[in-house]
Amino acid sequence: MEEIANLFGGFALVLQPYNVMLMVIGIVLGVIIGVLPGLGGANGVAILLPLTFSMPPSSAIIMLSCIYWGALFGGAITSILFNIPGEPWSVATTFDGHPMAQKGKAGEALTAAFTSSFVGALFAVVMITLVAPLVAKFALQFGPAEKFSVYFLAFCSFIGMSKEPPTKTLASMMIGFALAAVGIDSVTGQLRLTFGIEELLSGFDFLVAVIGLFGIGEILLTMEEGLSFKGKSAAINPRVVFQTWAELARYWGLSLRSCVIGCWMGITPAGATPASFMSYGIAKRISKRGDKFGTGEIEGVVAPETAAHAAGTSALLPMLALGVPGSPTAAVLLGGLLIWGLQPGPLLFVEQKEFVWGLIASMYLGNVIGLLIVLTMVPVFAAILRVPFSIIAPIILVICAIGAYSVHNNTFDVVMMLVFGVVGYVFKKCNYPLAPLVLAIVLGDKAEESFRQSLLASQGSLGIFFSNWLVGSIMGAGVIALFWSGLARVRDVLRLPAAKKA
């Protein structure tokens, strides 16, 4: 097996002392980012991305992906101890995690959460190892029309599957596309949408948008809620860990189901947050103790955490194999690839073997190291949240500003960051989803390029997107995804009379 040899090559790269050090730094930073309000996986990675410009790409991606794992782990700490989800995907973890902490079982809840995260991530990494090379090989035959159809499918699934109103998702996404179009048109080299403003010549950078929308927006939301953090304290000792592990072994069926849900939701760009809710909901329906969910059931911690991590990890599969990220953080990582001079997409598996397999190997190792770090250092991370928000908030603001500036060494970007922050606050309050906006800024240029190349080949006929079975079926899947929520409603309507009869 060629893949196994490659994977071992990746492990050799990751185990170099320098890279192991970066992994530990990345995970510790990631957990801190996950714990702090206003800093999350996506904008944490965005802020630290400029620091990696001088590193070799494989070391850079190892550190940044470890920040991502750390942030995924960190969300659970605040949910369980403080009843504050540090990240949107850990909202479902608060339902049973915090009641467990109130009953004095914080150690068990945290161990269960971390272990489930680990299991979910590991399942997804194994899946990536096996599936990603195949998908990439298949995708190598893609022409511009097929490439566009994959983007089309990704964006349609966003509209059809998000819980926000479809027109709001559409508006948010198209604003992202419009922002991506500002500046020099990559095909004709012509300027557009700049209106003679010099600062707009280079366009909007998605990193600045991410830092503003997620970072500043989140601080404003936290300020509005006027949070005072009152948490349960917890220390984890080895006895609790082993006891909980013994208990968790009994829930292997639940774990497996949550893994599958997570992977599915991660690959289709639904993301970790809906995955965690769906997994929780299904576990509640199926479990024998389902009626006790919400009062501190360990199953209610296992289900969402496993699914969230499986989704968060498998979101990297389409990014690696197709160049289409499944989550905002994956989008930022993809932007990182472009900055380091790597072309994301199927060719990556052929041309940058060392990079790809180094990343995959770091997913295995990063999650093992992450599990050890969070299990041993929970009290330290929990202490960070006890620092009052009036100290944390300005420091986060400064960090965001530094991050936004260092993307292009431009002070105008810092102004844009604040503008994006206010927009992010209002959008979030009005239920406009931010993830599609960010993804559209990242993918806008590439999607437009493949769209125009296809149209050029077909002399402007849209028929090219249905010209063979491959592109046609991907486009068809996109259309189905677009109307998915509508179809589900029709099904419910059809089912209702049948249920009444019975």
């Binding site: 179009a181 300027l191 949408l193 300005p394 002070t411 604040l418 009005c430």
Partner: protein, 168 residues
Amino acid sequence: MTQGSAETGRAGPSHRSVEIGTAAATAAFAAIVIAGSLKAGMGWGVEGPQAGFLPFYIGLLILAASAVNLARAFLSGRGGKLFAEWGQLRQVLSVVIPSAVYVGLVPVLGIYVSSMLLIGLFMKWLGRYGWALVLAVSVGTPVLAYVTFEIWFLVPLPKGPVEELLHL
């Protein structure tokens, strides 16, 4: 902005009016995009679709989506929930306004001095901490940033007259 009051009796802008405002803003954004695309040319040129071709249709889509959002907001009826209470908005503004000043100061004073002022102001004004702690955090954070970014990772950050004086 209309002053709707919900059943709770607390005052603040209604959610409906903010929704209407947001939809109007996205529509205005769409108009700008469409105008810009027309200027760049949205037809077919010698090299296929012109630069404004796709942005034009993107603008139309935003406009259509905004129209639906606007209609939905109008139809949602009065007396709905609040967007936020005035007190909460004051909290939000207490971050936005200093940040706006901060962002304006960065090109003039450099990021280090501005950051000291921002953190110091926040801690003294909102947190009411003692001078010792305020000074420690507001000076410590930029110094830490200087060490990590400029010395360790060799990323230059904007500097102002104070740094010039210190020959940094």
